[in-house]
């Protein structure tokens, strides 16, 4: 069939010229945080991490209740029993149920990680924020102090503090562990916040706001604070695994909670003795759980970083 090349006027339709609605936005605007959430949702690995964190969080409370054993109950006639129907994750050297102990330990490890990260966040934001908005001289002094603390290896000082703060033979309490981690752990956060604040303070929109007569407090509240939130969130997510890792290492070096209490690190340390006599499950199960926690928080943090980065926006 031949195409109709005869252009008649009735083939045309008059386009509606509407000056009133021309600048109307047709699609709904997506706000910043829902957009971040949407992009995070597309990141399968990060979502897997988030789901695992929630699951492990629930199990760390539920898991100690459902096996019918307590974390401290010793049953000397049932020592070192392999995982099975009696003990789901086996029993340890003193006949304690590993399933309950592992989830109990996970609760402690997660709690220590989250609380330590929260304290680091509080101190870091406060210190970094003050340094960022203070005068040049105050800022310079505050940052030199932070740099000196930062140059001291983190775990070395945590080990040292745990040794000093814990009583001999009494184990290291959760409070001491968190205190030891927080005393130096806030520095990266402070450096990050200070850098962000300085950068945002010099930004064009802060200048515009200032020239329109906005007060310093208003700029801080309206421009600087919301824009630092993203990097801070990423940093907190990545501080949690660092703290959990530090706790696990301390526990493994014998500076953990005192038995019968347990954290994943002390369980791995106990399991090392079990490994020598062929009970590999005693170390493998806590090991898998530590690795899963580290994995989840790390991929979630990475996913958040990507989701918050406007350059990666599609």
């Amino acid at each position: 069939m031949k195409a109709d090349t005869n252009l008649r006027p009735e083939l045309f339709e008059r386009a509606e010229k509407d000056n009133k609605n021309a600048d109307k936005i047709k699609r709904p605007t997506i706000k910043y945080w829902p957009d971040v959430w949407r992009r995070l949702n597309h990141n399968k690995l990060a979502m897997l991490g988030l789901v695992l964190i929630i699951l492990m969080g629930i199990m760390s409370f539920l898991g100690t209740e459902i096996s019918g054993y307590t974390y401290f109950e010793q049953n000397l006639s049932m020592r070192n029993i392999d995982p099975g129907s009696e003990f789901w994750f086996g029993s340890d050297e003193l006949g304690r149920d590993m399933f309950t102990r592992v989830w109990y330990g996970a609760r402690y490890s997660l709690a220590i990680g989250i609380i330590a990260a929260f304290i680091d966040f509080l101190i870091g934001v406060l210190y970094g924020g003050i340094a960022g908005i203070a005068s040049r001289r105050v800022d310079s002094i505050m940052m030199r102090v932070a740099e000196v603390i930062y140059s001291i290896p983190y775990l070395l000082i945590v080990i040292l503090l745990s040794v000093v703060l814990s009583r001999e033979g009494g184990g290291t309490s959760m409070f001491v562990l968190i205190l030891a981690m927080s005393l130096t752990g806030w520095v990266p956060m402070a450096i990050l916040v200070r850098g962000q604040v300085l950068q945002l303070k010099e930004s064009e929109y802060s200048l515009a706001s200032e020239s329109l007569g906005a007060t310093k407090g208003w700029i801080l509240k309206k421009h600087i604070f919301p824009n630092t939130l993203g990097p801070i969130l990423v940093n907190v997510t990545l501080t949690i695994p660092r703290a959990i890792f530090a706790e696990a290492t301390l526990g493994f070096l014998g500076l953990g909670l005192q038995a019968p209490k347990s954290s994943l690190g002390t369980l791995a340390n106990d399991g090392l003795a079990g490994l020598a006599v062929g009970n590999a499950y005693q170390i493998i199960i806590p090991a898998i759980l530590i690795s899963l926690i580290m994995f989840s928080f790390n991929v979630l943090g990475d996913g958040l970083r990507d989701a918050l980065d406007p350059r990666l926006r599609k």
Binding site: R144, E147, V148, I149, S151, I152, P153, Y154, L155, L156, I157, I159, L160, L161, V163, V164, E168, F245, A248, T249, F252, L253, G254, L255, A268, L272, L275, A280, I283, A287, I290, S291, L292, M294, F295, N298, V299
Partner: protein
């Protein structure tokens, strides 16, 4: 540039001093003294012990004496081992730890950036996925777990690798690898993202359009620029290797300084803890300084960034 060097040097010295002071203050804030636990001791012996270690003097005087001794390279005596001083233990343990650390660092530096580059060059293809799986495992699995897994599944089954101990080069392979995995993974991830960024730059296109061989473009233009962020984390990496060595030496039964340190913790041998901590801190701060200075020479842009703040 020399101004920056000087500033960096001063900061390093201040940090060393801060570590010494903090460590000293912490160790002396512990209530009681190290000989209290041996309560069956006659008072005369007790007094002699105190004066032998200088503990009968006021704390400020002890501090000055300690600083003076440190300046002469004397890290103090061990409280539990009456034969060996801290210096003896450092002399015995440090070469072992240093070898372990250097091997691990070498493994990480060779394979980390290589894996990262491979991942970036084959983005979203098999090599990328493989490298990133290795990287995620490396970041998620703490070295003490990696060490145990290697002993359990590799050393127990392959006769080539001894299960523990130190001596021949076979002894050092598994622990070096276990120690290297985490920094290797960090470097691989960093290298991948940095390489991806570099590969999108205009000068890569220019180089390609000039007709340079692909391998030369990658090696001379891409890798050379992409490796800079990896070098900048070398300081942190060395610091992580050091702490990692405590754990690895414990698992593999390696007679290094890390194991002495761990033993001194469980023995509550305060002078040994103090001496080794200070020794570690000094080594690390020197390393950080070297890395920083080296970085300044490698990347001329850093000078501007550092002075601009």
């Amino acid at each position: 540039m020399s101004k920056y060097l000087l500033k960096r040097l001063v900061l390093s010295v201040v940090t060393v001093w801060a570590v010494i002071t903090i460590t000293f203050a912490l160790m002396h804030s512990i209530p009681g003294d190290p000989f209290k636990s041996e309560s069956k001791m006659p008072p005369q012996v007790y007094q002699n012990l105190l004066s032998q270690y200088g503990l009968d003097k006021p704390v400020t005087e002890q501090y000055v004496i300690y600083l003076g001794n440190l300046l002469q390279g004397d890290l103090g005596a061990s409280m539990k081992s009456r034969v060996e001083t801290v210096n003896d233990m450092v002399e015995r343990g440090f070469p072992v730890s240093a070898q372990l650390g250097a091997q691990a660092l070498l493994i990480a530096i060779v394979f980390g950036p290589a894996l990262g580059s491979l991942a970036a060059l084959y983005q979203n293809k098999f090599p990328d996925y493989l490298s990133m799986i290795i990287a995620i495992i490396g970041i998620s699995v703490p070295s003490f777990i990696m060490g145990t897994v290697l002993i359990q599944f590799v050393a127990r089954n392959v006769g080539f690798f001894p299960i523990g101990g130190w001596g021949t080069w076979q002894h050092s392979l598994l622990p070096s690898f276990a120690l290297a995995l985490m920094p290797l993974a960090t470097m691989a991830r960093l290298m991948r993202s940095s390489m991806l960024e570099v590969l999108g730059q205009d000068y890569i296109k220019t180089a390609k359009s000039k007709g340079i061989k692909k391998s030369a473009v990658i090696l001379k233009h891409a890798v050379r620029n992409a490796i800079l962020p990896v070098i900048s984390i070398l300081g942190t990496t060395i610091s992580n290797l050091l702490v990692g060595s405590f754990v690895i030496e414990k698992i593999f039964g390696i007679p290094g300084l890390g194991r002495f340190f761990v033993q001194s913790i469980s023995n509550r041998d305060y002078t040994l803890i103090m001496g080794t901590t200070i020794f570690y801190a000094i080594i690390l701060i020197i390393m950080l300084f070297i890395v920083d200075v080296a970085y300044m020479f490698i990347d001329p842009r850093i000078k501007l960034v550092k002075e601009g703040r």
